[in-house]
Symmetry: C2
Subunit: 207 residues, 2 copies
Amino acid sequence: MKRKRIPQTTIARLPLYLRYLLKLARKGLRIISSYELAEHVGTNAAQLRKDLSYLGEFGTRGVGYDVAELIRQISKCLGLTKEWKIAIVGMGKLGPALLGYKGFEQEGFKIVAIFDKNPKKIGKKMGNLVVSDVTNLKEVIEKVGGVDIGIITTPASVAQKVANQLIDAGVRAILNFAPVTLGVPSNVVLRQVDLTTELQILSFHLT
Amino acid sequence: MKRKRIPQTTIARLPLYLRYLLKLARKGLRIISSYELAEHVGTNAAQLRKDLSYLGEFGTRGVGYDVAELIRQISKCLGLTKEWKIAIVGMGKLGPALLGYKGFEQEGFKIVAIFDKNPKKIGKKMGNLVVSDVTNLKEVIEKVGGVDIGIITTPASVAQKVANQLIDAGVRAILNFAPVTLGVPSNVVLRQVDLTTELQILSFHLT
DNA sequence: AATTTCTTGTGAATTTAGGCACAAGGCTAT
DNA sequence: ATAGCCTTGTGCCTAAATTCACAAGAAATT
């Protein structure tokens, strides 16, 4: 097949496949069919096979997919072979919750710096990190040897300013929880997680 | 025009339009053009106009849109004219963070019950609610007169079980933060917020 | 070796979403 | 009035995503 660009929607599904595959691997399962995997991820077999076909041909016809091989290939595609360094800005309610979330480290995401602007929080120890002053964001990030992903958990009013600071400090990917649409240059990747929006979408469907 | 079904993608953008419109209204602005509104929401004018055209014709050619009227129409479309009642299950790290988030109540989402299974947490007061035993989920939800939306912030291992309990208690919409793909009947709306997935998508784009 | 039984991989068709470009319509000024 | 200027609303075309349906290939069986 002529290999094409991987669609956005496929990329968004790969992590779900990976998660279930890891679960299967822990259970000791070695082979899985497109049918069964799709079932557990809430999609259909045709979609799953097409998704995987963008990465290559890993299945065995008449048999299924080798779990370990698929894990390897998806991980490689998603760039999960290296450890990514993360900074969290905003230690209100959500920031500490994310900091304490075990899932990240397990998947190769390491939080290396945390920031706030409240003097009462700066210098405090949270987890095994110390809260830095957001004013020194660039210097702190340089001191830890750079950061790959910035997570914004500040109030909406300062989120754009924080995003600019992160970008200025060399951060190329941002995950924003603040309820505001951020503007970033095209060489920076931005993902938005918006709780109110999610609830409003649910509200629409309930109506 | 023949009115058609509103696309999923449009529905997901309406909350973003609404948020910026509310900001404009607070500033006292009364009229906005498709161009300017689109700009602030990270889309383009044609898309915005097409999105709004699914709801009706609210603009004035040569002028723009009336901010108050648009707010009214989008709110109506999203079903934001009534107050929705919410239950949060799982009072670990994330649950309390969501409970403390001011944004919900402002937008007409009221948290009316919170649950955990840890005996040390049950009975404790958080915010102005008391943590109930998840075992009694159905009865507690009945006692508060029913719940529209359930938010799951439990570990992945019990999320499906909790979802089933919520559905059994009459909940028709679920927002799941647990890192697992849930299965729900087709008359229940499900949205997934998955932090690890988001980071992995960013990782892909950084690679 | 041939046949049957699976399940993958993928062209082709279908559906859905996005964007262009311009006619339609309203406001302002002369 | 009428002309000129703006911005909306939308038909139509393009692009992206999904689904279908079947040939291709591998293992098991006769």
